[in-house]
């Protein structure tokens, strides 16, 4: 397991696309803050101007704005990282190794976690640069609250990357997987289910959907919100990791 993980990380750190994605994300994040200053200075979030939000609230504000660009970047990277190995056929060289099918999926899941962590780090840096330059505001807010928010959102976004990994493994098609990734990032399914739910009284299942949980503004001082977020993230991570490993174990590698 450790060797395959080392191999995937070796490929990960030498991956130019990954750095390019992070750079583009960073640039667009700063540009987004600039645009907010230019056109949405008057926009208010519950009576408070966006420029006066601390980092925790600003993250919640940006993540809740559809489409979630972080999810789009995660989808692109997850699909790219898996298909680059699969379409080259490189996996055939090591898959006959003992338990390599399981280890290969687990290592990709861990690489995706590293990418999501780097994306969050990039977001923090970009926010700090953008908010300093355009809002003249570097307030982080309560550090404990910020940590709870970052950990929860990291878990949710990592769960999303595993879901995309599973989709690309099953679909085996770059375009179809990318389309599915964009549709999920736009939360089309969540919105459709919410609309259907509004027709039925007392049904609130859509709040447990992964993307709905990601984009919903949460209060991380509220234990129920933390529990809800953690439960959704852990369940999606476990279910889709299990499905991905099971699929790989049964897959004919033609």
């Amino acid at each position: 397991m450790l060797n395959i993980l080392r191999m995937d990380f070796y490929r990960f750190v030498r991956n130019r696309i990954m750095y390019l994605l992070l750079l583009v994300f960073c640039a667009f994040q700063i540009f987004g803050i600039f645009m907010t200053k230019q056109y949405a200075q008057e926009m208010e979030k519950g009576g408070i101007s966006v420029s006066s939000l601390n980092e925790s609230d600003f993250i919640q504000y940006t993540i809740s704005q559809p489409p979630s660009w972080m999810l789009v970047y995660i989808a692109v990277f997850s699909i790219f990282f898996y298909t680059s190995e699969f379409s080259s056929g490189f996996h055939k060289n090591y898959i006959p190794m003992h338990r390599a099918r399981i280890h290969s999926v687990c290592s990709k899941i861990l690489v995706l976690a590293a990418f999501v962590a780097m994306l969050f780090l990039t977001m923090l840096i970009a926010d700090w640069i953008g908010r300093t330059l355009f809002f003249d505001n570097t307030s982080l807010g309560d550090p404990v609250y910020l940590m709870k928010l970052l950990i929860s959102q990291f878990m949710l976004h990592w769960a999303f990357s595993i879901l995309i990994l599973y989709i690309v493994m099953v679909v085996k098609n770059l375009l179809v997987s990318l389309t599915a990734g964009f549709v999920l990032a736009l939360n089309v399914a969540g919105m459709a289910l919410s609309a259907l739910e509004s027709l039925v009284q007392g049904l609130h299942l859509s709040q447990y959907l992964l993307i709905n949980t990601i984009v919903r503004v949460k209060d991380f001082n509220n234990a129920a919100d933390i529990l809800h977020t953690a439960a959704v993230a852990v369940i999606v991570i476990l279910v889709f990791s299990f499905l991905a490993v099971r699929y790989k174990l049964q897959e004919d590698l033609n």
């Binding site: 450790l2 060797n3 395959i4 080392r6 191999m7 070796y10 490929r11 030498r14 680059s84 080259s88 056929g89 490189f90 996996h91 055939k92 060289n93 090591y94 898959i95 006959p96 190794m97 003992h98 338990r99 390599a100 049964q250 004919d252 590698l253 033609n254």
Partner: protein, 308 residues
Amino acid sequence: MTDCIIECCGLTKRYKSKAAVLNAELKIYRGEIVGIIGKNGAGKSTLLKMISGLVYPTSGELHFFNRAPAGDQSFFERMGVLIENPGLYLNVTGYENLKLLAIAYGLKDSNARIEELLQLVGLDGSRSIKVKGYSMGMKQRLGIAVALLGNPDVLILDEPINGLDPQGIMEIRQLILELNKKGLTILISSHILEELSKIASKYAILHQGEIVEVISREELQHKCEERIEISVEEAKTAIPVLERELNLMRYKVIDSRNVYVYDTDITIRQITKVLVEHGVMVDSIAKHKQSLEQYFLERTERAGEHHA
């Protein structure tokens, strides 16, 4: 060569209702070079993929070293695989492709091993060139180096000489023979039969997913050897005449009427003359010579008729 290292027992692979490989029975012994012969779509790649653990059989069993893996995949680690196109990252160098795999194998002194392999396959001078700049032959050679990285006992090569020029084919052939001399058991599929005939010690002929014949190099050479086929009234009368008059040494009595003569310095005219002079009735006499290609075509046609 008494140690059976791979045994296919009724190996079958179906894709929906179509059988890509049907009930394959094959034994591979240590040190052999087994040539898998078959037309396109005969099931060669599928059979090799099942043996190398890339594809799961629908039914049947694979035995390695006289043991069924029964879910234990560790036997597959002892194989180096080059199936269809070499699995390589095109945007990095050959060295880096090997380096990645060496990390996956957990090789300690990987740099030395990579250098050794690049030298073995003749790519030591191209270590800074990205794989996308490689010729077809270079990619195939790098594919073989990749397959050899884990020090396998068995090397599985699917069409390794596809698309190569004559020079490339010769180099790959020499490399395969060299590796075999070092003790590697090799399974190789190709539809370039002439090439296969220069290296294989055993052949498995596949037709429409079925192994229609497994034949050793010696048996095949014997079957394809130049011979004179004689049909006479009574073979037991003809043989002493031919032995005495023409000093016949190499022959085979097929049945009571048919005899095959393998002495190439004896002509049809001489045989006919001697037999007629001694009152032996000759029904027919003809020279027979078959290439591996002709033998393969004849064998698959026969199998096709059997299917029909």
